[in-house]
Amino acid sequence: MKICLSLSVASALAALAILPSCGDGNRSATWAYISPVILQPNCAESSCHDPSAAVDGLDFSTPDTGYTSLTGLWVWLVDPAKDGQPGCGHAAGTVVCEEKFRPLVTPYDPSESRLINVLRGRDAPRMPPDRPLDEADIRLIETWILDGARKDETSASAPPDAGPADGQSDATAERGDAGASDGDAADRSDGAGDAPAAADGAGEAAGG
């Protein structure tokens, strides 16, 4: 009987593994659902896009930082050709310019959204590299983009600025609407503001 107890759990597990799920209910194609249910568990791992690594500056560990990562990330880029221009400065012997990172989603257009291309491995390295998403989750994200990729559902919420689609930054874009809103992100921005940190690696970029 005791062994049966354990085996019953294992059997129940096996049964659940082969039974179909409850149905085809409509999931909420909103950022409020997509961020914690899909992106946080799959992308915000410690070596990838959580605060401790934030590879490429992308942090999906919270709805706020995740939305900022997709739509409104500001970065320092090395660009010696822009010496003296507004928004640029010297750091560690090179020139860095504050620019808006290319948005990874293009509202209303999933096929032009970098996010979808990496999730599908379409002309881009597949993400997440260790756990490709199931089709239903990708479709849900596409639906969210088709609906405007809004942060919330209120009618007053405007879709994010799509930004230039060619990958170039838009230095004149308005800051703030999708900016990091929690203190952690603000704290970390101090580090980014240390121009030498930007320039160390950026020097390679300039050279390359």
Binding site: L5, P36, S61, G121, R126, D130, D134
Partner: protein, 384 residues
């Protein structure tokens, strides 16, 4: 340049998913199968994992290793006073991953873990700490984000676990406070399992806890209040409460119920689950399973439900050999039929000599309607 950056991130990201194996998780397969019914018979931690005690080191010498050896610190070359215990873990690995990526199969050899462990006790009070080098997957930055930024060098040296514990003996109550994983689930070493990755027990997701529990011969209880890492901002940002109660029967069966209520950014989730292990001695086989149902509460959205489970068995046919086969299921939302992941994982561990392990793993993940992922992995593991 940006494309090169993304390609690099993809390759390194794949490697990194396997690059960090928390020392806090040991081999739950040894419970019951080793003749010990409680994890803390071999480990200092009341729920197992991490530094092993004198009994555990003797077990390594006498029972675990194919060719024996001395399981004591530095193979017995150093004797420490009873109040002090030291240890360490080194792992190196090879991984090959294929997920249909445009860059083809990723192959890599990489350092996986380098941790030092220490425990010091004074009477009923003890301190336990782990300090190690964290695998760093990024090169220096060529793009420096102003938001979300974490310098490359900021998180290289980390302590996955550090806690004080008040405990009078192996049986009875305890209280501990510090950073560690709250006792929950099967606690398999493989952090890539969905029951770990999806439920708040992934790599570096140790939380800061206040935990209390009671251990008896036939049962144990652990209750833990947890909060996010407030020092390094690593891992989960959830806070809440877990409870885990385990009942053992005749040293061949362990069954547990568990609860976790966690509130994090954008979501509160309640996890109710069960864990079981059964040792079938004639077959030298341990059957093990974990099943968890998750209720997610998200503001402005109706509650949704998830199922995450793993089941399988471990066979220990010869001294020093352990083969494990696991089947996993992650049903992301029970209201949708095709939001699921299935995975099959085969593990083969050989402990040839005290302090040494060679492990191979093959894993196939099948996301519903998505791209399969195949992983081959070999690691060399040496512990002090």
């Amino acid at each position: 340049m940006r494309a090169r950056h993304l390609i690099l991130a993809a390759i390194l990201g794949g490697v990194s998913t396997l690059a960090l194996q928390p020392a806090a998780h040991a081999y739950p397969q040894f419970q019951l199968s080793s003749g010990s019914s409680r994890c803390d018979e071999c480990h200092y931690s009341p729920d197992g994992g991490g530094l092993i005690n004198a009994f555990g080191r003797d077990y390594v010498s006498d029972e675990l290793s194919t060719f024996g050896g001395n399981g004591q610190l530095l193979h017995g070359a150093v004797r420490l006073p009873a109040w002090l215990a030291l240890g360490g873990e080194l792992r190196g690995a090879f991984v090959s991953e294929n997920d249909g990526d445009i860059n083809g199969t990723t192959n890599a050899v990489f350092p996986m873990q380098a941790d030092a462990e220490a425990r010091a006790a004074y009477g009923v009070v003890s301190f336990y700490g782990v300090l190690g080098l964290r695998g760093q997957v990024r090169s220096d930055d060529t793009i420096v984000p102003e938001q979300n930024y974490q310098p490359v060098t900021a998180s290289t040296l980390v302590s996955r676990e550090h806690y004080f514990m008040l405990r009078s003996g192996s049986l009875g109550g305890y209280v501990r406070v510090g950073r560690f994983f709250a006792p929950f689930g099967l606690r398999m070493a493989e952090h890539i399992l969905y029951v770990r990755q999806d439920l708040g027990f992934g790599t570096m997701q140790e939380s800061y806890n206040l935990s209390a529990g009671y251990l008896a011969e036939q049962w144990e209880l652990h209750v833990t209040a947890f909060a996010p890492d407030f020092i390094r901002h690593m891992g989960s940002r959830e806070s809440g409460l877990t409870a885990y109660v385990e009942r053992r029967f005749a040293d061949i069966e362990a069954a547990a119920l568990q609860l976790r209520v966690a509130s994090g950014p954008g979501m509160t989730r309640t996890i109710v689950g069960a864990v079981s292990k059964t040792w079938i001695a004639p077959l030298k086989t341990l059957v093990l399973a974990e099943a968890d149902f998750v209720r997610r509460d998200i503001p402005t959205i109706s509650p949704s439900y998830q199922f995450v489970g793993v089941g399988g068995f471990s066979v220990l046919p010869f001294k020093g050999i352990m083969a494990t086969l696991l089947q996993e299921r992650d049903q992301v939302d029970l209201s949708v039929s095709d939001a699921t992941y299935n995975a099959t994982t085969a593990l083969l561990s050989w402990f040839p000599y005290a302090h040494c392990e060679i492990q191979g793993m093959a894993r196939l993940q099948v996301p519903s309607g998505g791209q399969d992922e195949k992983t081959l992995f070999v690691q060399l593991h040496y512990w002090l």
